[in-house]
């Protein structure tokens, strides 16, 4: 397809990229291009200059933070996350979720930063990043700021990014002791887009029998990932058993008005959210007990 006329530039430093983004309203960062190129084909957004950030070394590394967490460059691809021994060692689930996005071609190009900045409600990474308590590190010509993932996703294709601002990296805190994460999706076919997803992180007490604390995030129920605080409250102090989790998850999404679309009604999504939440929490408990932090067994 012939795209509209557009300028392209590949800056050599993040500073140069920020300069162009600040000085030109029509400039947009080009990361993996796995959404933006289609946006250009469909002409749903008009871009005057594509600022190719995908080869910037500063945005492409995965580093261990001093406290044992991860600092992941915005342009790290899904495939790199999937294959990273660092990611697998401390946040196994993040590699696993990334390794089940769509297909190999898309995983070789798509980036963690692009996946978040697009804020497509069907994207796989936002809910798990919210559950893991990730922080988005933003930079513009005028400075830097950190925004928790929970506050970054503002709506359907909308984020906290200001014009001229770039997501440079994502900081993922270390998993506390006795904790694990889970991720469950209702999808038709392996690695497909999901109707409903749940991501969970739980911390067990020392004995491993009771849930001390949890974070339960639902996706595709609203246009952004949402925490179910009521379910989290029911989970705290509950036995770390499937029956107790089932009981605590029976009321998941009850206070919410899930979206309805051609893929599922509001009520169907509510019921499925309960099932996905239970599966994600049960996985998280198993992961907390096992050596692997954040293992998953179910659909992605």
């Amino acid at each position: 397809m012939l795209l509209e006329q557009v300028e392209y530039v590949r800056p050599e430093t993040v500073g140069d990229a920020l300069e162009i983004l600040a000085s030109d309203d029509g400039a947009a960062p080009l990361a993996g291009g796995q959404s933006l190129v289609n946006v250009l084909k469909n002409r749903v957004a008009s871009v005057d200059v594509l600022v190719d950030i995908s080869r910037l070394a500063e945005l492409s590394s995965i580093a261990r933070t001093a406290d044992g967490g991860l600092s992941i460059g915005a342009c790290v691809t899904y495939d790199a996350l999937d294959r990273s021994p660092e990611v697998r060692a401390s946040h196994w689930i993040l590699g696993d979720v990334a390794g089940h996005i769509e297909d190999q071609q898309i995983r070789n190009k798509g980036t963690i930063g692009g996946n978040c900045c697009l804020s497509d409600p069907t994207n796989n990474l936002p809910p798990i990043l919210v559950a893991l308590g990730a922080v988005m590190e933003l930079r513009s010509r005028s400075g830097e700021r950190s925004v928790p993932a929970a506050d970054f996703f503002k709506g359907y294709f909308a984020t906290a990014l200001e014009p001229g601002e770039l997501l440079v990296s994502i900081t993922v805190p270390p998993m506390p002791e006795h904790s694990g994460a889970g991720y469950a999706s209702l999808a038709v076919g392996a690695d497909a887009k999901a109707l409903v997803r749940a991501a969970a992180r739980v911390t067990l007490d020392e004995g491993g029998t009771t849930i001390a604390e949890s974070c339960l995030v639902l996706a595709r129920v609203a246009h952004v990932p949402v925490r179910d605080a009521e379910a989290e409250a029911r989970l705290s102090g509950a036995d770390a058993t499937e029956e107790a989790v089932r009981a605590a998850c029976a009321g998941v999404a009850d206070g919410m008005q899930p979206i309805a679309d051609v893929h599922g009604s509001s009520e169907y999504r509510r019921q499925m959210a309960k099932v996905m939440a239970r599966r994600a929490v049960v996985q998280a408990i198993a992961a907390a007990r096992g050596s692997r932090n954040g293992s998953t067994a179910g659909g992605k």
Binding site: M1, L2, L3, E4, Q5, V6, E7, Y8, V9, R10, P11, E12, D16, I20, L30, G33, Q34, V37, N38, L40, K41, V49, L50, D52, S54, D79, E102, D103, Q104, Q105, I106, N108, K109, A190, D191
Partner: protein, 174 residues
């Protein structure tokens, strides 16, 4: 900083040959390969990143060439389906597609072959499950995939006999 503009000079190595061209920033890699370089082995199907017919290998990574702009690949090494056969002899993978009837109309085949080539480099002895995941991004409307999976599996086991390629190399009818 690289030049900013609506056209760019691009130098790439395609199937072992170095080429330089001036391209429009808006040109898709698939059109650069097919229209500018005349390498029509790479097909274009959906033009939306869904079908995989346009799959090629750029710097060792399998990608969909309809989802990349030509200026993005400056300095890269590109492999297309034309790189597989050597001196008129089909590669063992191509041979296996032929023997196991891994194609009907052939529209998806260039992309399937590149996805399978990439998969077998990463994982020389894939399970059927791994083969299916490896070609998940490639749609085939004809075969029902069974014979494609079989062709890739048998190629991975070195089961293709190479009969056809030997004949083809000798210029014989097959």
């Amino acid at each position: 900083m690289g030049e900013r503009g609506t056209s760019h000079s691009v130098t790439v190595e395609v199937n072992g040959e170095k080429v330089s061209r001036i391209v429009a920033a808006r040109q898709l890699l698939v059109h650069f390969l097919r229209d500018t370089l005349g390498l029509t082995g790479t097909h274009i199907g959906c033009d939306t990143g869904n079908c995989g017919a346009c799959s090629v290998i750029v710097d060792g990574k399998l990608v969909k060439s309809c989802m990349i702009l030509a200026p993005q690949v400056d300095g890269s090494t590109i492999e297309t389906v034309e790189s597989l056969a050597q001196d008129g002899a089909l590669s063992p993978l191509q041979e296996s597609f032929h023997e196991h009837h891994g194609l009907q109309c052939g529209y998806c085949t260039p992309g399937m072959l590149m996805s399978a080539t990439y998969l077998l480099r990463q994982n020389p002895e894939p399970t059927d499950e791994e083969i299916r995941r490896g070609i998940r991004g490639n749609v085939c409307r004809c075969t029902g995939y069974v014979n494609i999976v079989e062709a890739i599996r048998e190629a991975s086991r070195g089961q293709a006999t190479g009969r056809r390629s030997a004949h083809a190399a000798a210029g014989e009818e097959v």
